[in-house]
Structure formats: structure tokens, C-alpha cells
Symmetry: D2
Subunit: 495 residues, 4 copies
């Protein structure tokens, strides 16, 4: 991964020096296991260990040797043999094949990288919990299909983000469980010259257990779900990032990515505050998908192994971890410094003219209008019509809407006209329905006679003071969001 | 493809009956070519043709036979042999292998399907041209990073959509050119028992030419770019659809997908007008990507052929065409009935407070403030600061912004407070800079002394009436969009 | 999915009629739950249920209505309302949104489809177990990198297939666990007008539980791992299929896909017995990957929902299940009728000239040659050289190898010469090393002096009768495969 | 890309220092174009150019600045401003946006990288031509479905590889043509403050032309086909590599990847000569697919731009080029040193017992047996039966085949028995059919009476000496491969 997007700890895990250190650890572990099983004298083990520990591995020598013999594990062994007297050579890498040495270290490396992902994930979850609690009563309109839907608290939206992440995390944990397995079962995995007890003991020392049924390598079906889980997690992060970007669209932004004091949004346009970190997360998700699909494609291999998986894994695993860790940390950074504008949320609610309670209004009317001879379909159409009515532009505005400009000077003229238009009064569903002021709308197929019938029924219904009181309550946050408490209880365990 | 998303003409092209008809055509074409090359008596050809043409192919018989012998082309031949006297059998399918019969029909089917895509594409392009001309002077703010950027006409944005589509179409044409090739070169493509002249002649009759270097089949590298080009085209459509969805977000929608009079947006919320067709196009793009990737994966095959590509092609090609055709037609339908709200575009411009000309303002000041001792960096910061200043909320609003509600009743109270807030006057970059009214802003790292210096320089500069006139011109559509004419000329050839 | 590859039971699960039946079940379940919670009279529930059960759903009417209102769930409700008196309308679909009705049925459909996959998977596993036991002592050479490696039993290779499948199945079970969740939480998932207790009760009736933190729909991160697990399983199947195809390559096939008596391998070449079912499985895997990637791409959506996921799911889920089920059943069919040729396996072993024990030979020599002054590197080179020696062609053959034919008549001549070549004696590692008959080989960088040194050491070593006895034992199945019993014990629990 | 797989020239093209040099070149080009259009004094240009050329760009300073302002292009400009007196600042980057500076350099970098791909591709093509000519008369069996099919020359197979590559290359050229376009059209691509003439002139200087219809950036639909073409090319390479791997399977390898004298095939098994380079190419293809899919996913973006494409392009383009270049060069290396074993090809032909001419045999019999009352179906069955007969094992071998070993000692016994089996005479289709020696076969559904009928007809037919002569000719390379000359002529233009 290029430096710009690389995480240092991930780089370290997958570095050459970390790899060869783990290989040495593995070779020593095998010897240790032999000692444990009385297959080797402790003394020999100690000699080898001491000699190796006192001579650090020369990455340069190793790489040069690899160029010659085209086999990196053998090259590593040659490097290590340099420090052993001839009579000790025969104990090292005895009866085992390259991947017997490499597999357990590989699993351990993945484990370490997953642990780093876990850490970042926990931090992000903590941030999301803080936000959910902080904005528990900050009301905003939910949006489905990009359109304003029912009212919710911003905190409750954050809870859905939290749950998405938690679900992704749970799948990651499940997939990561496979990392407990490894193999030390020889050239084709049938223990041709290795005692299965040795595999068991060596892996035990490393906190692992045998995967019975390996070929020369662990079948990649073991690791693929982990790659997919990481990539899915980044997609969840991209989903959250996209929600914020949608809320941050200028005009009336509900929230914005933090912006540093010296930051420049654009070289051309000094006014810009662009959500570049959040957009970057979409790029990360595209990459994560690509890396995971590379790894997924390694499930199929020929017979007891071929080596096409190796190059893919050298590249795609570290890069997938870099991308995941970066995504978690960037989103955490953005959320931790997120600028939230509750005033704009409120203004959006006001401008939405009561439609945030259209479902409740509909159910309320269903309940009370059947007595007045109106069925479900009628009620649906009443609320729909009212919603169209409240957004109907004034005639002056309608005139501008319907003018198609035929020159830029006309555009300028329209712009000025628009600027001078008197501010139209905001009418809400909450008002127009009890007032029985429905009007025919060209965009809906509802006849005047029906509209009259609806108004008549509404007039009758809303004569009742009690009905009016109940009606008005429908539009209050306390009523609309009364059940969000359940989400806080069930998800966060708070009351 | 499920009926919901299938196109009838595409279904017909890839139907069983169309396929076997083409196979028969191919078998006859080979015989015709043999006649042309004096390898067969015309009379024999005529007998076979007459017998076949007078007995239509029984799909049912064919399928039953296929179940028995597991070879659909052989089963087809058996069906056809039923109508030929024994002595004519030896002329049919002589020396050739199944894919000699199947390849040319396959290419012809793809050609037909591409032709349908072409038709829809032309229709969509025509719609886009109409829109570009209609909205040539309908001004709106461009958006980069979701943030309002410079001003443009809606027509000019449509031109970028048009060009995207045209570029995708050009790539499709390029890829489609490969459909002129086919093969009739026997079991491993080396003309073991076929005269290359026969291949040439038979393909010529069908308007095709030999692809020298086939194996048993045409190498799939020939067709893959076509699948990719189709999928890329659907991605372009999704891009256009997404732009409209972004403009259609409720609050102040700039345009909306057409909505039928009887349509219901939501079963719960009667006020909804959801862009479901446009969102469906995103689904189509995801599918197109999937189908194209299936087809792409067929490039690699073993030696002179294996048959894994066959099942993929039976499913993915028709489905990819269905998805492409649907995408083109749905977008055309949406655009043809698109509701456009120029008044909202104007309002958005007004609310953006002159930032749409921030780049021009910056360049203007660069040009004139150097004389007053200010460099590029200073000018950038002046315009940036002004942009922050014009959007600064009133203290009353700021108070609401900074209150974090701790109960729903407090939320309701804030909502009412917000509703009662007096409408703040809209201040523009156009005004604040000549007035030299820059103020320190907490979000920017610019010191009071600098701000004073900036105001001083501005005051001096804007003393000049001429400067003020020039300055005001910067904010007019006629100035800002003066170069769009070039786009109309270069892209559409109109003045 | 096209009929050719569709599974009838899967088709039924995802059919229109099954879908609307489940929707009705869901609507009734909600009413039932209301009764349970004393929110509705049992009598009303019974009336509705009776009326609905006595009038089956008209798919035709429903589809026509959907064409009109562009909302399939609302169209379904309209169809059902036809049979209810007006006064019962208000109880149906009360307070809930379309996806409150659709989500639980969707989860139930996926569950059913997964159950079918489970069945096929169990059958396939049973077949694999049978094979593993049957071929426990059928010896063959393992292959890594396509090259003959150590000896194994065919049964042990089958065990690795079994474990691959079992691992894929375990991941599927993990992913399927998410299907226990669903939602009934209203238009944006915040229970705007729904009692959370109702959700809990309704889902309980269906054997499900609430997913707290939904938006309008269950977040797709819940379902994506299932799609990936299915696709991964098909990749495992493709891996097994590929292993068989590799073993079935003509010349000396070790096994072959069953071939029906009337089957035709090729229209051109009557001798062909092509592994078309196995190759078809590769096509299935490519499709499964594509369908899973479509579904994976639905994780990201806007805010409280957009609907692009719907079209993808209508197509990709059924097709992914079809492909998975077909893959499992086709592989089971192939394995159940697999033709296995133990004689060819034996011949292959013989022809491999003892290299299947090269690792054991190397370790044996390491152990015994250190005493004779040879190190690891020397021993490695001895065995490598011996392996090169045993495969060295005779001079007559070498002559043919090095002739590059310059005409087809020369090719024919070479072909005849080759046919007349006397059969060369097969020399094995087992013989050449104790005989100390190593020779310099041009392809290896080992000097004559070293070869002499090696031969000398070998001569000394193999003077010992005991050494020779031990050496010969290295090449026996009983020794080489002695540890396979562990695999049978650990994987199948058999001794 | 990790060093192991990186190409140095590709690394250089996409290095930081190359990038900023191109940015400087672009800024100067814009100034130069202004001079050309009399918008700037030559003198000012010269001053700036001289100052910049005499102060090399500090990567370190630039990176540090980028950390501060989070905008790499602005940071670069700041670095460059350091060397200009204040009064020259206003001329630099005037009116243009970051991507006006970045796009043309990006296109130029891609062009350079494509040129490197072209070079490697030409080398590989030259190698393939050499091989096609060298092995023009080296006969081998073609394989379809992994089964031996008709005879061909190895040269002719190489020709199919050559054509695959050439086809991929042609698509790459087509896609690369788009690199002639770039943009310099301001912040949203509408020339807000840029003269379109300046764009044209500046791009002209660089050998480019304007893409009319850009937004802030060139739409990525322009570049995506290039990425796909690169990835497709790597898939073609993987196809060729796989063919070689299949031919290199041990037992009777037809060819082998070159093996260095000091190379070690396996740490455990010294006899191994693994095709690790070829297998590595499969890994490269998997990666190429992944990188291309990342780039493909950038087509869709919001409105006049968002920046998610940037991170993807920073990573995926260089890596895709690395992978492509490596694939081309590795395959070229393997092919240049490929070890080919014509003797094994001949032996394989002999062992295939005449089936390589089964299609010709069938057509020959069709032609001559109709007179004896046998139809197409009969003839097909005759050849099929003959093919089954020639491969029928001896009874002794059949006994071994049908023994299922129940212990390892029994396996050893069978192995010894097999070793002692007398070599069975090879019978060919060429012999058995004229001899009319067809026998009933259990695997085919052909009755004894039919077999008798067939033998009778064959006996009659082959009485004729002339028929026997013609028949024997069918099995000769000169006859079977007579049409390959056409391929050489059409593809390579050689006779």
C-alpha cells in the first residue's frame, strides 16, 4: 500500500523482517515440540536457539539467495544454516515442507492484524455510542429514497450505524475464529514423514490447533470469509460516510466533516469545505471490495496445491488490512470532530410541513373516518392530497417555475425576480387537514367531488375539541419518537 | 431474466426457437457455400432446404433428445434428420463440429441484441439533446463534492451526461466490431477436415469473416470487451440517475422523476414521491457489473477448449442485454417526463450567497490587489473569509445551534423557537467584499491584524466606480456562463 | 434462472405465488400478534382470516394493479381488500410499511432455500464419506504444482475434499444464523406508530426475533455473508471438480465422469468422453461469484433506505440458490457414478520412479550421511540428481527429442521411429541411490568431483544390509501412508 | 506494488517526483499557451520558467505542507511559490482548478505506462512468432475438454496464443486512443474563468486535445476501458500459462518451464521442477481482475465530481500496470527458455491410438458406407465403438482395475503385479476398423446384431485396396494438418 494510506502497525506485521522472525520462531517451535515429545535432546535445541538468537537474520543475504534459488523459504533456511555447525543441520526443517514453516506464521500474522482492526473498531463503536447518547433528543427528519420520511432523533440514526458496524464486527469475529487452525503435515498434508503428534504439539505451543484435511497448505476456504468480512465492514463504513455526505450537501447542511483552520477546500474556489475524508472512504470501500475478491478467487487450486495464491496473498492481505484500518480510523476522526447543526435539522423539519407525521395522520384518520363512510383508500388519498397541497407554490412562484429562459439576461431577470419574491407562509399538514382546506391537485387523479366529500368529512371530524387535541399531539417529538427508548435499551442497554 | 425486468425483443433473440432457427440457417449456409464452391450439387441443397423449411423444428422433441444424449446441438441435428431420407444425411454437418454450427449464430444473435441497444441509445441521446437545448439558459449551481461550486446552466450539465453516454457508446461500437468474426474451422480449429475456403464462403454469406486462430471455439477475448462496454454504459446511466436523485432530494428539489397520478409512493407515508425508477437503475448497474464480470471470467479456458463458458453465456449475455436495454429505456422515460423546477434552482443560487463566483472573485482580486501589496495567499484567504462570513448565523440562530436538547419537550420548544426566528437577510460575497466588511472567523486561522489589512486594501480598491462595475459583472450569468456556447458548438454543433 | 439450470424447489420458494402467500401470512401474523397483546378482538382476526383463506390470491389481478400503481405490496393489499368489507379495512396493514410485511417473508424464504442447500450438502458429504472409505487403500501419487509429489491414498484426497466442503458448510451455518432476525418497526424503523411489543410478538409467532437498529429495512450487512458463503461453497465444488478433470485427462486417466450409454461426446469426434458436467461446475462457480458480488454491493444504501437493492435481490438470490443447488447435485451425481481406474494410479506410481518417496529418502540420507561428511545441501543435491538421472531419456529417445522436424513427412518418420523405440527399462530412486550410480546431469550445477564424492559416500553407506532393508521400506505404501489413519480418525471418527 | 512484483520503469512513472515534475510542466505549459495566445508576456513566462528550473522541487517540503493543508496540488503550488517574487504569483495557476493541472499529466503518465506495456507485448509477440515457426511441424494432439482431440502442430497451437494476445492488444490500442483527450476547463468544466482557446492551445503543446463535456475532471468512462483491456490481456497470458502447465504435468510432460541449475523445486521433495512462474501468472491475473474492477467502479460519481476516484487511482493504476508488465515479461521469459519434448508429444500420439483422426475416419465412412446401407448414426457408433475397443484393457489389467484394495499390503501387492504386467500391444483405430474387428462394449448401448452388421459392412468396404490406401492416408500428419498452412499465411503472412 502506498504510504499515503498505509498503517504503520499493519506494515510492520507484514514486513519482511517480521516474517522471517516468525519463520525462525516456527522452526524453533518445531524443535521445541520435538523436545517435548522426546524426539530431540533439549541440549541440541538450546544450541540452535542460542546460535540463532545471537545472529540476527540478514534480510539482504536472504533476498540475494532468493534471487538465486527462487524459493524464499529455502533461502531463509540457507541464511540460518550459516550460523550452525554442520552436525546441527540435520535437525532443522526436518521432514517438513516450506508451508509447514509458513502457515502458522501466516495465521499468526493475520491474527495480529485482526487484533488491530478490533482495536480501531472498538474505538469507533465507542464514538458512535457517545454520539447516540449526545444526540438522543436532537430531532431530524429521516429520509427514505432521499425524501423526507418520518421524524427521528439524530441519536437514533447513529444507533442504526452502530448496529451495522456491530453486525459487521460479529461476522468478522466468526470468520476470525478459523485463525485458530494451522497445519504441519508435510508435503501433501498426509504426514508422509511427520508424526501427527508433532504437529499437534508444535501448534499447541503457538496457541493453535491442527486443521485435519490440509493439503500442502491450509485450504484457502478457511481464510476467505475473513477477507469478505473485512471488506463488508468497509462497506458499512462507506454507508455511514455516505449518509453524512448526503446530510452535508450545501444549502442547508445538517452536519459537516471537520475542517482544519489552514485547510483549503479547492485551489479554484476558496469557499469550499469539501467532505474529502468521507469521499475517500468510498474509495477505500471500492478497494476493499477489489482486494477481497482477489483473495476469494484463491479458493480454487489444483490438487494438493499450486502456488498462484501466494502472490495474491502477499499483496491483497496487507492492503486489505491497510484499507480497513484506515477506514475505521478516518471515520472515527470525522465523527469525533463532526460539526452538527441542530438548527438546520429543525429548519428542515419546519420546511417539511408536517409530512414527517403523515403515517400517523393517516392511521389516525383511518381510525376516525370509517365512521364517516371513508375507507382506507380515501384516507390515503386525503393525506396524499394534503401533502401535495402544502407544497403547492404560490402563483408568482409558479410563474417563475414555468418560464423557460431563452437567454442569460432573462435568467438574470428571473434571478432578481426570485430574490424579490415575498417569503411564502409555511402551511403544514397539521393545519390544513383539520381546517378541511383540501384542494384539487393536477398531479393527482382525485376528482373535485371526492375532494368535497373529504373536506366535508374532515370538517365534521375536527369539530371535536378532543379530536383536535389528539391530532396536534401526533406532530410532537414526544409522541413521534416515544419508542426510540426501546432502541436505546435493546442496543445500548441504557434507559 | 425475470419478467419484471425483461425486454421482449431481447428475450426473442435468445429464445430456444430463435436459436435453433439460426442453427438450421447455419447448416444450410454451409451447404450453400459448398454449392458455391462446387463441392455439392445445387439439387441436393434444394432438397434439404425444402424438406427442412416445410417441417418446422419441434422444440419439444429436441429438448427430450437433449435430455437423452446430453448434447444440444447433436439433439437438434437428430431432430432435423427426421425429415431427411437416409441418403441425404451424409451431407449435413459434414466434417464440422458443434461450435462450427453454433458460433456464427451466436455472433449474429449478439449483433441483433447490440442493434437493439443502439436503438435505445439513440433515443436516449435524442432526449438528452432536446434537454440540453431546452435548458440552455436555465441557471443552477454546479456541485463538486456535493457542495455548491460555480454556476452553470442545467443544459450544460445535460451536455456532460450526453458526452458520458456518447463516450460509452463509442467504446461499445469499438467492441462490437469484433462481432464481424466467426469460425468454421473444425474440432480444434485447424481445419482437420474442412476446407478453409468453405469457412470463408459460408461466413461471407452471413456477412461475417473468418477469425484465423480459433480453437474449437472463437476465443472469448473477442467478446469480453463487448460485455464490459455494455456494463460501463449502464454505469454511466447510473451516474446520470444518481445526479437526478441528488437533485431530487426533498427540501428544495431541483427536479423530480415523473410520478403517475395513481402512483403510491409508500404504503405507510402518503406524501412520498420516491425516485424508484432512478434507484432501480442503480440496481441495474450492480447487476450489469456482475454479469459482465461473469463473462470476463471466461477468457481463460483449457487448451483447444473446455465448456465452462457455455453455461455462463447462456445466462449472462441475455441478462446483461436485458439489464442494459431496461436501463436505457427507463432513463429515457424518466428524462422524457422529468419535472424540472427552475425556481428552486434560482433559490438555491440566491441562498448560496455569491460563492458560485468565488473563483472569479479571487482572480479579480489577485489581479487588482497585488498593487496593494497582497499576494495570492492573501487573496485566497480574503475570499475564503468572506465566504465564511456570509454564512455566519445570527446570534439567535447560533444559540439554537449550540443547544443540545436533553428531552423531547426541549426539542419541541426549540422547534417552535426556530419557527419564530425572523428571516435573516441574505448577504452575498458580491456585497461584503466591496464593502470591506470582513470579520474574523473562529473557523479560520486568520488574525485580526490581517483582517484589518485586508479590509483596508479592499476599501481602497473599491473606491473606483469602474472596479465596482467590473466586480458586479462577475456575478452575472452572462459573464459566468459565457463559454458554455463552446460546449454547445463542439458537442452538438449548434451555435 | 433459465430452465436448464433451475431447481424446481428453489423456483417454488421464490415464485410469485409463494411470495404473496407469505405476505398474507405476515399480515395475518401481525393481526394474530395484536390479538395476543389484546390490541384486537379475536373475532375480527377470525373474520379476516376466514375471508382471505376462502379467496385465493389472484396473481393476475395483483400484477395488473402493480402495473398501475407501481408498488407491488400495495397492489397485493388492494387485491386482498377486495374480499373484506369496508369496516375491516382499517385493521389491515395498520401503521406498518411495505417492508414490515416483506422482510419476515423474505427471511423465511431464504431459510427455506438454505434448508434445501443443507439437504444437498448432506447428500454430497455422505457420498464423499463413502468414497473416502472405499478408496482408503487405493494408492496414487499426490500432485503439487501439477507434479507428482508424495504418495497418498485416493481416499485421503477425498478426505481433503470432504473437509473443504465441511468448512464451507460451517461458514454457511454461521452466516445463516442471521436469518433469525427480522423487523416490523415502521417506515424508518423507529416504531413511529408501531408498538415494539407487537414486532416482538409477531416475529415470535414466525420463529424470528427483532433486529433492533433497522431502518425501513433490515440492513443488508445481515444477508451478505450468506450470499458469500454460498458462493464460496460453489468455489469449493469447482475445486473438487477441477481435481477430477485434471485426473481425467486422457492418456492415462485416473478417473472419469460417468458417461451415459447413449451419450455423445462430440458431434465431430465420436471417441470423446468429455467431462462436461464437471466443466459445467466451473461455469456455475463463475456465476455464483457474480451473483454474490451483486448482493454484496447492496450493503451501502442511502440513509433510512433506497430501493436499488430490491431489483438485485429479486434476481440474484434465486439465481445464486439455483446455481448452488445445481452444483451440489451435479457433483454428487458425478461422484456417485465416478469411474475410478486404480490400475492407472498404480501405473502412474511406477512411472514416477520412486520420487514419491524423495522426501523420505532425503531425510534418511540426512540422518545417515552426516557421519560420512555430507551436509544437508549435499543430501538435497544427491536426491535431486538421482531424480534427474532416473528420468534421463535413452540416447535414441534423446535424438528424437532434439530433432526439430522441418516437414510433415519428417514428422511421420519420427512418429514411426518413436513407435519402434524399444521400451526403456524403468529405473527408480529406490534402486539408483543404493547402487551409487549417480551421474552428472547437464541441467544441474553439480560437478563431477561432487558426484564422485556422493557415490563414494553412498557406496559406503549401503554396504550395510540393515540400511538397505530400512531404505527399501521407505518406498512402501504401508510406511508412506502410515499416518493417514489419523486423518480418518480425526475427520470421520473411524479407526 | 511490493518490490517482488514491481517494474522499475512503471514505479518511476508513478513516483512522486515524476508526478510533481509533470505538474510543473503543466503549469508552465499553461503559461506558454498564454504567451502563444498573447495573453502573457514572453518575459514573464521566461522568468518563472528560469526560476523554477533552477530550483528543484522539494518532495519533503511538499509532503509536509500537504499534511497541513490536506490538498496536495495546493501544497505543490506553495512549494513553487517559494521561488517566485510576489509580483509573479498572480500569473501562476490563474483561473484554473487543481484537476486542470493534474489531468493532462495523468493522461501522459498513463500513455507512458501503456508504451511500456506495448514494448513488452511486442517482445512477447516476437517470441510467439519464433516459436510458431520453429514448431510448425512438431506434431501433437490437440485437447478439448482435456481429452485428446485431433492432431495439430505445436506451432499451430502457438498461433492461437499469438492471436489471443494480438486480439487483446488491439483492444488495448482502441482503449488507449482515449488518452489523447484531456481538460483544462475550470472548476466545473464550464470554462467559468478560462478561455477555451487556452485549453486547446495548452493541450496541443502536450500533444493532446480537449475533451468537451468534462466536469471538474475528465469522466472516468474515458479511462475504464483501458484498465479492462489491460486486465483482459493478463487473462490471456494466464490462459497461455495454463495451457503450458497442463502440458507440463508430470508423467509425460510435453514441455516444461525453464529451471535454473541452482533452483530448488521444493524444500521437502528434491525431485520437483515446479512451474512456479506460470502459476504466478495465474495470481497476476487474479490481481489484474481485482485492480481493473476497482477502476471500473469509479465511473459513477456525484454531479460535477467527488473525489473517491482519487485514492483508487493512486493505488490501482500503478499496480495494474505492474501486474501487466510482469505478466508479459514473465511469460516471455518462460517461453524463451521453454523446454519442449517432441518425443513425448509423439508418444502421446501413439498412445492415443488413432483417435486424433476419428473425425476424418467418421466422414470417410459416412461417405462410403451409405452405399452399404448404413446411415450417419451407424457410422458415428462404429467409430465410437472402435474408440472404446482400442482402449479396452487386457483381462489381467482389468482384474487389477476392479480390485479395491483393503489394506496397504494388498496395495503393495497390486503395485508389484502391475509392474510385472506385460506391456500390452497398442491397437489403433487405423487398424481395427479396416480389420472389421469391432466388439460389443459394455459402456455403449450397441447390440451384438448391430456390431455384426457393422463388421460385415466394414469387411466389404475394406476389401478394396484403394479404400485401404485412402484410409491409411487419413492418419498421416501431411493429410491431417494440410490446412494449417492457411493459418500461417493469414496470421503471420508466411507461406
Amino acid at each position: 500500500m502506498i504510504t499515503r494510506y498505509a498503517d504503520k502497525r499493519i506494515s510492520r506485521i507484514f514486513s519482511d523482517s517480521a516474517k522471517v522472525k516468525l519463520w525462525q520462531k516456527m522452526e524453533l517451535t518445531v524443535l521445541q515440540a520435538m523436545v517435548d515429545l522426546s524426539m530431540l535432546d533439549q541440549e541440541i535445541y538450546s544450541k540452535i536457539e542460542t546460535l540463532w538468537r545471537s545472529h540476527s537474520i540478514s534480510i539482504k543475504w536472504w533476498k540475494k539467495r532468493d534471487q538465486e534459488i527462487h524459493h524464499d523459504l529455502n533461502a531463509f533456511l540457507d541464511e540460518r544454516y550459516r550460523y550452525l555447525p554442520l552436525e546441527l543441520h540435520c535437525y532443522v526443517h526436518k521432514n517438513i515442507t516450506s508451508f509447514d514453516t509458513e502457515e502458522a506464521p501466516f495465521a499468526l500474522s493475520l491474527k495480529k492484524a485482526v487484533a488491530i482492526v478490533d482495536d480501531y473498531c472498538e474505538e469507533l463503536k465507542a464514538t458512535l455510542i457517545r454520539m447516540a447518547l449526545q444526540y438522543r433528543y436532537a430531532i431530524m427528519n429521516g429520509r427514505t429514497h432521499g425524501q423526507e420520511a418520518e421524524m427521528q432523533s439524530f441519536g437514533a440514526r447513529v444507533l442504526t450505524w452502530f448496529k451495522d458496524l456491530e453486525t459487521a464486527k460479529l461476522a468478522l469475529d466468526n470468520a476470525g475464529d478459523n485463525l485458530k487452525y494451522s497445519k504441519l503435515s508435510g508435503a501433501i498434508g498426509k504426514y508422509g514423514s511427520i508424526d501427527p503428534a508433532l504437529e499437534k504439539q508444535a501448534l499447541l505451543i503457538l496457541g493453535l490447533q491442527p486443521y485435519y484435511g490440509s493439503t500442502q497448505i491450509i485450504p484457502r476456504i478457511i481464510y476467505v470469509p475473513l477477507a469478505q468480512a473485512l471488506s463488508n465492514m468497509v462497506s458499512v463504513i462507506d454507508k455511514i460516510a455516505t449518509d453524512i455526505r448526503l446530510s452535508a450537501r450545501s444549502g442547508r447542511p445538517l452536519m459537516q466533516e471537520p475542517f482544519k483552520k489552514k485547510q483549503k477546500g479547492s485551489s479554484a474556489m476558496p469557499h469550499k469545505k469539501n467532505p474529502i475524508l468521507l469521499e475517500n472512504l468510498e474509495g477505500m470501500a471500492k478497494m476493499a471490495t477489489g482486494f477481497a475478491s482477489m483473495i476469494t478467487s484463491t479458493i480454487k487450486t489444483w490438487e494438493e496445491r499450486t502456488i498462484e495464491q501466494s502472490s495474491v496473498e502477499r499483496v491483497a492481505w496487507p492492503d486489505l488490512f491497510h484499507v480497513t484500518v484506515r477506514s475505521l480510523s478516518i471515520l472515527n476522526k470525522v465523527l469525533s470532530g463532526l460539526r452538527v447543526y441542530p438548527d438546520n435539522m429543525l429548519e428542515e423539519i419546519i420546511q417539511s410541513r408536517g409530512v414527517y407525521a403523515s403515517s400517523e395522520a393517516k392511521e389516525f384518520l383511518k381510525e376516525h373516518l370509517t365512521a364517516h363512510g371513508l375507507g382506507n383508500e380515501d384516507v390515503y388519498r386525503i393525506v396524499q392530497l394534503a401533502a401535495f397541497n402544502v407544497f403547492k407554490p404560490t402563483p408568482e412562484r409558479m410563474e417563475i417555475r414555468e418560464r423557460i429562459s431563452s437567454s442569460f439576461s432573462e435568467s438574470l431577470e428571473l434571478l432578481d425576480k426570485m430574490r424579490d419574491l415575498p417569503q411564502a407562509k409555511i402551511v403544514s399538514l397539521a393545519d390544513i387537514i383539520p381546517a378541511a382546506r383540501l384542494e384539487v391537485n393536477d398531479d393527482l387523479d382525485i376528482a373535485q367531488t371526492d375532494v368535497d366529500k373529504y373536506n366535508l368529512a374532515l370538517k365534521k371530524l375536527f369539530k371535536s375539541e378532543e379530536i383536535r387535541v389528539q391530532w396536534n399531539k401526533l406532530f410532537t417529538p414526544a409522541f413521534l419518537l416515544r419508542n426510540e427508548a426501546v432502541l436505546y435499551r435493546e442496543i445500548l442497554g441504557v434507559e
